[in-house]
């Protein structure tokens, strides 16, 4: 079933260093369209660094990172990567606090991706309004549409940021700890949201510490350790793999 899926992101031989420290060491990683791929591992395993490379925040020392098999992601700026369809929700909820929920989504929902001048002078059209309204429903913030970002709860900010990335219609959706700091209820709702986002033209990569959440959402799990891939497979088998247990789940 998963074999038939097209590869979205392919990482080969990736090395990322900070000074003498190898945050990522010869990493091999793939994420396919139509799946939710969870990346787990102990602190310092290089999970967030991997997302940083995919979004142009950290430069790759060596290796290949491609989208759709052809597009070289290591040479592109954050802006180019975002416009090529890589959307990221940050670990710390990052929304524009002075703007309302609607304005946050409206800014994220680009009208003219190729021209900033046209973007500035563009007027809202029906299609964008519909996209934003649908996204508001999806993230459950319809009632807060006119509330300022600063007034939202932590969980609501996380959802808003997911919504902001969603309206960009990304091919690759990167979620860095989407349920950190959320209540159990909020975590359940977020799990349902992430499951509902799966689609044939979207690859979802989630970095998360909450194992129950990962089990609910992930089709495939990549366990990273010291900048390398330790294990790939289902969450159930990860839970019983002795290497994983040794480094991470800790007996």
């Amino acid at each position: 079933m998963s074999a038939a899926r097209d590869t979205a992101v392919e990482v080969e031989g990736l090395v990322v260093t900070f000074g003498h420290f190898k945050a990522i060491d010869n990493l091999r990683f793939t994420a396919a369209y139509g799946e939710v791929r969870a990346v787990i591992g102990p602190n310092g395993a290089g999970k967030t660094t991997l997302l940083d490379v995919l979004t142009g925040r950290s430069p790759a020392r060596a290796g290949r990172v491609t989208l759709d098999g052809t597009l070289d992601l290591t040479r592109m700026s954050e802006v180019q990567l975002a416009l090529s369809g890589i959307g990221r929700k940050f670990q710390k909820p990052s929304v524009f606090e002075a703007l309302t929920v609607w304005e946050n989504l409206d800014l994220a929902c680009r009208r003219h991706r190729r021209s900033l001048v046209r973007e500035v002078f563009s007027a809202a059209d029906a299609r964008h309004t519909a996209t934003i309204t649908a996204t508001l429903d999806r993230i459950g913030l319809g009632a807060q549409r006119n509330a300022r970002g600063a007034t939202l709860s932590h969980g609501q900010k996380q959802w808003l940021e997911i919504g902001m990335v969603l309206v960009q219609e990304p091919k690759v959706l990167l979620l860095d700890e989407p349920v950190a700091g959320m209540s159990d209820d909020e975590t359940l709702q977020t799990a349902a949201l992430v499951r509902s986002l799966r689609g044939p033209h979207r690859s979802i990569i989630v970095v998360e510490h909450d194992m129950d959440f990962v089990e609910q959402i992930a089709d495939q799990v990549t366990v990273m350790h010291e900048g390398k891939t330790l294990f790939e497979g289902s969450m159930q088998s990860a839970r019983t793999d002795h290497r994983v247990l040794d480094v991470y789940l800790g007996r």
């Binding site: 954050e78 990052s94 929304v95 002075a98 973007e119 300022r148």
Partner: protein, 372 residues
Amino acid sequence: MMAASERGAAATAGLIALLLILVPLAGLHLAGPVGLSVYAVNVVGQVMCFALLAMSVDLMWGGAGILSLGHGLFFALGGYIAAMHLLRTAFATTHVLPDFLQFMGQSAFPGYWHVFDSLPFTLAAILLIPGLIAFVFGFVSFRSRVNGVYFAIITQALTYTAMLLMFRNDTGFGGNNGMTGFHGIAGLPIGGANAAVLLTVLSTIAVLLTLIGGRVLLASRFGRMLAAIRDDEPRLRFLGYDTLWLKLAAWCLSAMVAAVAGALYVPQVGIINPSLLDPSVSLEIAVWVAVGGRGGFYGAIIGAVLVNMVKFWLSAAAPSLWPFVLSLLVLLVVLALPNGLTDLRNRSRSWMTDLGRGFREAGRGRPERGAG
């Protein structure tokens, strides 16, 4: 919150518009209970120029969260360009070369001065030269992602460099003494009542137009992009916005507004010299904005007006006290009102609502706890 800001801006605009009635009365020699004296008109005009300058800083600081401590440079540039035009027109009537050129042993204006004979060219230059300098400086800084306090420091360095350059007599703009000896403006003798009224009215109109235009800009999609830069610039970049160009656009616009303020200011004081390029002048502009309150422009106007009124009064009454009063103001703002006088309004409102809630709860006998 939005409504409070709207009301504040409307009230400020209303008060400034009142000046457009009071000031021309002075020109009709109705000074006294209804009008203003020529001295007062001149003070109002200068203060309006400072208000305009404060708004230019607020566009960057309140709008995009980027603090400039070097806007004195753009103010002075506008002033120097206006002064060049005024000296050329003075020469056309008096045929006397300005002192500083005679002092340098020159018998005529250097060739490039002749272009400033033209008023339209001068007006264009007032916008374009500071705009171009802002563009080059902003492009280099923003592209290297120089942010926050580091950006503020290099803007100080920039205006300091310009001051050292302008202090040299060889630079050709009057060195230490600057440029003075203006004759007239639009056919009115400089220093006279009519010129003072004209310049004050122009400055007041410039403040009003900038207040209205600036608020329209902040409410536009571009203004929301600036707010997004202020709140979380990396987030905006990862949404696919190249923030370099947004910041650069705001920065150049801000420099141009400051230059217009300088160009209106110099004929009112009758002199321009490098002291305007002193970093302390630029720091003071930031103090005006901090005192009045960042964002929305009306706080900047109120701050510039209040601080400068105190300064005008003190410079006559007790000039040596000014640095202490200024420092005290800064301390007060930093400690008690982090967002300036606009905080006073928000704070008094929250006291009022607290008081109201207290009364209601007392009426019910016990405090009520909401469910959520």
